[in-house]
Amino acid sequence: MIRINANIDKKSGGIIKRRSQLASIWFRFRKNKMAFLGLIMFLILVVIAFAAPLVLDYERDIISQNISQRFLGPSSQHIFGTDQFGRDIFKRILWGSRLSMFVGLGVVGISLGGGTIIGSLSGYYEGSVLDNVLMRFCDMFLAIPGTLLAIALVSGFGNSIPNLMLALGISTMPKMSRIVRASVLSIKNQEFVEAAISCGTSDFRIMFRHIIPNAVGPMIVEGTLSVARSIISIASMSFIGLGVQPPNPEWGAMLSEAKAQMINYPYLVYAPGIAIVLTVMSLTLIGDGLRDALDPKMKN
């Protein structure tokens, strides 16, 4: 939010106007019922993710096995039932929100960070050798299916959460670079950039103080949607055994464990999937709502 403030401060140059623009974005966002619903769902999830360790104990509630309690169907005591090791599925899902959020944000942090550097360099020096080299590199990466690239990276570097983040971050970076480049291109010919150039401002400063803050809108939208997609990718990777490993209660890893028992105990696979769907849906709704709220065409 602070960054948006800074950005708008530059554009309109006044405190009163700054408030009104941010307020108008918020107004448009709030008018969109679905987006607002998404925001509420997401806030609930964030609260769950932060509150989980206050209420639950990782050793006792999440990973300790209790064979006498295994395969209990959903009941008032265990809302979603217990799994093949007698662990309460509901508690595991609550804890799992931490992993999905944390890893999802990490992935987008990496791809947004790298994408901003690559995209703004190649957009600012459009048509140069640097731009050509960077974009051809992106083309090559984009021609490799993303899942496959991530699988190759994780199986190469070894199974661990940081490696998973890195692999998914790298495999989504080319697309992010493209988006940043496109918005840099649309900004760099505007008057305030020309003014900055004529003042003798350095390229580095123009890029990071003048252009990127103004390109932040599309980046926030893409970032939000990208967290949603990353959560699906994380679950998919964990599902095929190349991501977060059991007994960690990541939702994809839970599904992977449940898959073997699925035919006799189908309730095992319902809850983790629904958790993924709700999380991804809330982020998608927020992203779409933000896009509409930030779209200058809708301002009138």
Binding site: I144, G156, M262
Partner: protein, 320 residues
Amino acid sequence: MTKFIIKRLLMLIPVLLGISFILFSIMNLTPGDAATLLLGDSSKPEAVEMLREELGLNGGFFERYFNYIGNILLRGDFGISYRTKNPVFTEVFTRFHYTLRLAFAAIAISSILGVLLGILSAIKQYTAPDNIITAITLGLTSMPDFWLGLMLIILFAVKLRILPISGATSWKHFILPGFTAAANYLANTIRMSRSSMLEVSRMDYIRTARAKGVPEKDVIFKHTFKNALMPIVTLVGVNMGWQLGGTIIIEQIFGIPGIGSLMIQSIRLKDVPVVIGCVMFVALLSSLINLATDIIYMYIDPRLRAQFAKVKKKAVTAND
């Protein structure tokens, strides 16, 4: 036209070389090698060394890469699988038809259903059917495809017992995986057809058609849909390309022995030639499909064709 096609084909060469280099680097510069993975951890060091020699794993990184690329360029030889010792070409081709069948099933389902639902959603904008279709679209995009696959298995194979759980021996085996693979693309196609239809329906010529009393059915299918078709065709082309390489996890769930399963197996064993062969094959095919889409695009849109002819004429006069 020919020039355009040749140019696009030539642009493929650096992309394919780049892909091979990226994958070769990832697979070779990360810890673990094929010989150890094939023989297991408890194998004798001498045996591992012999296998390394046999597979050509000894030698510098660039030396091996240029050997590999040289064999492809000079002899069209994509190497031999470390695991099965068969040529990569045969490995890919014996598996490919499964992936192709899955891709066709998915594309057929997502295109036909997607366009129909998209049109319905557009002509009933802001009514109950539109809202329901939009909700379905949102649900489909938010769902991991592997979970949808599991749900479909539980419903149709376990509870109703009308379709097989896994395998690839009859057309029935491709229904569930086809729907699973179609899900994401279905959502895209619905959205694209809806917005494209809505955009065209605001045009003046649609109002003219209505004003002169053209029946509503004809307005929708002859006037609106025909003009809304362009972006949909592109999307189907792009989907087709991605479908070929993007069904890795779905193939795993449904036990389809296609290219996706082959790739996962090969990545785990560091069977480098097979991995690179598969990816190059998929990338080549999807680029060719995209090219074909662009050509079809030109043929079905008279405006583009006219534009192309004009450019050609201009070029001719400029040369004079």
